[in-house]
Amino acid sequence: MPTGDVSSTENEAGGFRVAITPTLLSVYAWGYWSPEVADAFTREATAIGQKLMRVSAFAVDAAEMKPQGTEGQEALRVLFKVLATMNVAKGTLLANNVFTKMQIVRLLRECGLDQRVSSNT
């Protein structure tokens, strides 16, 4: 994870860590998000728009993330919609769980961000 502006939330089931450098937004997500973790991510994602004026790329490391329920999906949508409206040129997705990858790819497509993202498994 790059250093910089870092925030994180977690519980025993899952969590996330978000780091912002002058050029890169990095999201490391793992496990299954409870509604509380999803709410924290939504707040973070909402605030990200004001912090990312010069960020040109983003990376989502979901290698240890499980497919999310309604709240987790909605939290990810908030981030992807923010990124879709910004001048972020490219993104990368790392997902080992095929189900998780399908879910994130679907959410990226729904948010109009899929063309900017390459995925690695």
């Binding site: 299954y32 499980k66 497919p67 329920g69 095929v98 189900f99 399908m102």
Partner: protein, 157 residues
């Protein structure tokens, strides 16, 4: 009155009927009702890892429905998308497990996409009703998983 064996067997077939509904875009309500909503339930599908606890298990069924919402190969077909064969049920008190082979046939733009995986399911009799507490299917071959992933990426089958 049906025996425990017969009731458990019906519960196993109902699970795969609910799966067929889910794949056909007929909703997840039937699937939801068949499961015991508890922390100890578990599932693993032809792709992905273990889901443990009802929240995780349910997320995978809902995502399955979302994945197949872009599949259009069933629009004009009258046969089932898939089903189990050779079901063998072992009943022990209020628990039964079933072993079977799930076969499905998907019609993709380039032709048929077949799947054959072994499955194990467990049902518990809870307050007189057989509820699913465990579902496991073998991992699908990488080529099959990749084709489904491509379907999700493209947004159509």
């Amino acid at each position: 009155m049906a025996s425990g064996d017969e009731e458990a067997t019906q519960a196993f077939y109902a699970l795969y009927e609910a799966l067929d509904d889910l794949l056909r875009g007929k909703g997840t309500q039937k699937m939801n009702g068949l499961w015991h909503h508890a922390d100890y339930v578990t599932s693993s599908h032809p792709f992905g890892d273990w889901a443990r606890g009802w929240a995780e298990v349910w997320a995978t069924w809902e995502e399955g429905a979302a994945v197949w919402s872009v599949y259009r190969g069933h629009a004009e077909r009258t046969d089932r998308i898939g089903g189990i064969h050779g079901l063998r049920v072992a009943l022990r008190g209020d628990t039964a497990y079933g072993t079977s082979v799930f076969r499905s046939k998907l019609y993709m733009t380039e032709g048929e996409l077949d799947l054959k995986v072994n499955c194990t399911d467990v049902v518990h009799r809870i307050d007189g009703v057989w509820k699913v507490v465990h579902h496991h299917a073998d991992q699908a071959p990488p080529a099959w998983q990749a084709r489904i992933g491509q379907m999700v990426q493209l947004g159509h089958s």
